[in-house]
């Protein structure tokens, strides 16, 4: 149970940024996982090279990713937003553009750090909780994920800017009618999503072994969680992440570890057919 929850929490963390980018800015970002890996690798070099602790690394990676993603949105994605006649066109264009971006980022990462695996040891102290053994670093990462998720949830539901973002997620045209600057809100959401994925990268780097071409794995997981939770729905992403984590752990334990990924996709496809708008209904709660 507990390993399943921890895994699910990590999925939720990885997916939160994408649900903002796709749900609000309507950009289906296929290069999402590459940015996660980039942040994780940066954390590795900060820690092993300069001795900067990963938790301190959050303070560097998150603002940097925010600025970078804001620039990407303004420079590369705004032309697509302008050109798109409707939401479908923007989705297709953004899939293609970010797919190109995926290769660029992955290629850069390869040139810079090569293809080998990286991992470091930070607070890997085993703890025994409720009969299962869990490493301290995983727990800390999960704790931070929960904190970030809660902060985001309250920011979205309790602040004016959060309200604007939720309005854009539901209906960009109507949001414009009530004097919300849709483009600014979208850029903000995209950049915030980028900051979140950097945070996720830093946190998973604490306990996962990574290499430069693993981004796609994270993108796929995030995509599944986002669609299952309902696009733009933070709580949905959290619950879907947990469901997925538990299901994977259960399949690995009870049926066959080799089938976890297959179970993953099967679950996803069933949800997609049964409730295409996600397990937890409408957009942006």
């Amino acid at each position: 149970m507990l390993p399943g929850l921890i895994l699910g929490g990590m999925y939720a963390l990885v997916a939160m940024g994408l649900t903002l980018q796709y749900g609000v800015a309507r950009i289906m970002n296929l290069s999402y996982g590459e940015f996660l890996v980039a942040a994780a690798l940066a954390t590795f070099f900060l820690y092993t090279g300069l001795g900067v602790s990963p938790l301190l690394g959050l303070l560097i990676a998150v603002p940097a990713a925010y600025v970078l993603n804001w620039a990407i949105y303004q420079l590369l994605l705004v032309p697509l937003v302008r050109r798109a006649k409707n939401r479908d066109m923007l989705e297709v264009d953004s899939i293609l553009a970010t797919f190109g971006m995926l290769f660029v980022v992955q290629g850069l990462a390869h040139v810079l750090v090569g293809g080998q695996y990286y991992s470091y040891s930070y607070l890997s102290i085993p703890l025994s909780i409720l009969g299962s053994t869990v490493a301290l670093n995983r727990l800390i990462a999960l704790l931070f994920a929960a904190l970030i998720g809660l902060a985001l949830y309250f920011a979205l539901t309790r602040t004016r800017a959060g309200m604007a973002i939720r309005a854009v997620a539901v209906d960009p045209v109507s949001a414009g009618l009530v004097a919300i600057d849709v483009r600014r809100a979208s850029a903000f959401a995209f950049a915030l999503g980028g900051a979140l994925v950097a945070a996720a990268g830093v946190l998973v780097s604490v306990f996962l072994t990574l290499n430069a071409s693993m981004g796609v794995v994270f993108t796929t997981k995030a995509l599944i969680v986002v669609i299952m939770g309902g696009v733009g729905n933070l709580l949905g992403a959290l619950l879907a992440g947990l469901v997925l984590g538990l299901a994977e752990t259960a399949v690995a334990r009870l049926i066959d570890p080799g089938l976890t990924l297959a179970a993953n996709f099967a679950l996803f496809l069933i949800v997609l057919l049964w409730r295409p708008t996600g397990l937890f209904g409408g957009a942006a709660r």
């Binding site: 289906m28 590369l76 032309p79 697509l80 050109r83 939401r87 479908d88 989705e91 297709v92 264009d93 899939i95 293609l96 553009a97 797919f99 190109g100 971006m101 995926l102 290769f103 660029v104 980022v105 992955q106 290629g107 850069l108 390869h110 040139v111 796609v216 796929t220 995509l223 599944i224 669609i227 066959d256 080799g258 089938l259 990924l261 297959a262 996709f265 099967a266 996803f268 496809l269 997609l272 057919l273 295409p276």
Partner: protein
Amino acid sequence: MRAATAAYGMFGLALSALLAVVPLLVSGYYLALGISVLSYTVLATSWALFSGPTRYISLATAAFFGIGAYTAAILGEKLPWPLVLAVAALIGIAVALVVGLSTLRLSGIYFVIFTFGLTELVRQLVTWYEVNIHGSVGRYIFVDVTQPVIYWYLLALAALVFLAGWLIGRSRLGLALRVIGDDEGVAGHCGIDITRAKLTVFSLSAVFMTVTGAIMAPRWTYIDPAISFNAFTSFQTLIMALFGGATRLFGPLLGVVPLVVLFELLGAHFPNYFSILLGVVFMVIVYLLPQGVAGLFTRGPPRLRTVGIGARLAERIGRVFDRPQASPPPVAAADGEAVPEILATRGLRKAFGGLVAVDNLELSVRKGEILGLIGPNGSGKTTVLNLISGAYRADAGEIRFRGQRIEALKPHRIAQLGVARTFQLVRVLGSMTCVENVIAGLAFRSPAVWGGRAEQMARALVDRVGLGARAGMPADELTYVDQKRLELARALAMQPELLLLDEWLAGLNPAELNDGIALVRSLRNDGLSIVVVEHVMDAIRSLCDRCVVMNAGCKIAQGPPAVVLADREVVRAYLGDADA
């Protein structure tokens, strides 16, 4: 026309013959390049057969390709090679039908992600099967198929794809896909069996992909799931088709040739930077060439071709698969009734969540009358039309058209029985011309019209609604009023017995309103029965034989216009208690 077709045919044959001798002249690197070009030509062209007109972006290419490759790997040593390909084709069809039936109701991003997920699922399952049951991840393929043979098979397959695409482009099926791509709702109301049209072409394109995978398998000697179900195959196919231009038959080819060569060169000369350069190429295509290379030479969407040898041949083939429709018996008057009833509803009910939009509605339309369905905004009028035309399924109650129950039928069946409609928010097929819009109404009704006669009839109808001067103009360039006229022409093309007009007269200026009223009246004089949902009281008074007034989902009055419009309850519903 015939000469041009013959010339193209000769050119195609000559080109095929020329390409067929290539393996005799070159080998090694250049032959491999040729095989690569041909395989992506088949993949991208067959991808565009389905995804081009319907705009359903599929990422399932790798799934079908991989299934083909695995079929070849498993059966390659047990069966003769052509039989292996036939089995692969059958498996491809079977998988495509299952996938198609379950997913084609998803649209937009959900379809994209589903097809992507499907590829991953198949790969995971095959991997698991190979590891746990077969005992090793990979398989060796020892089949005596040489590189030139692979090349020739692919060349033949490419010729078949182009032939299939050429025929589809001239068939009613091709038109059906384009209508679906423009507006799926309209497609149903034009009498198009949406599921069948999409499934047919999706399966056809899947067969080509599967067979390509099977033909390519011996090239590797060793395959494992990561090689054969590589998601990259899907993306590369997609980007090549889009780069070339997916709405035209030869568009993908224009993308395949330069991109295969480019990727080859990049891989050979800049192996370390391949990925970066590839990404840059992708982005350049998206930003600079959204319409593809084909878009540089041609303007606008392709024109419909209904005449010529291709169209006749396609129609001949299509007839084989078409189920003939029995023509319905004439409507007879029941005992004691002067005029027979053409439409009747009983206990009709539709709720959206807690809101009951239509509640226990009884409605009857007599043959040859104009029935006004009126009531304040939100009273459920459009919902009634949607229930009759099959756009919504009723929660309870029955609808009889010419005595036959239709409440459970799909829109295309209802349309073929003789119910046509217009939409409250006008819905024309924007990428097609006026004549093509009307042909969409002719080509799928029962009995269907196609070829030169369809063109003539469409022109006559376009003339009748006063659009003769704009017959060749794309529908999305028409003004709002002209779009309404066009929508009516498309509905009339269905040769309906019952016509549903949803606020067709709204938004017209006084002169246009008079023309519009005269036009609707002339339709009744032709024997049509018409239900009009309308707010323009002048039109209601001068047109309608009877009115049914709805409020909050219920019928509150019915009778001649002058009587019901003076009814206290009706006045209260429209204007409130103070005026009643």
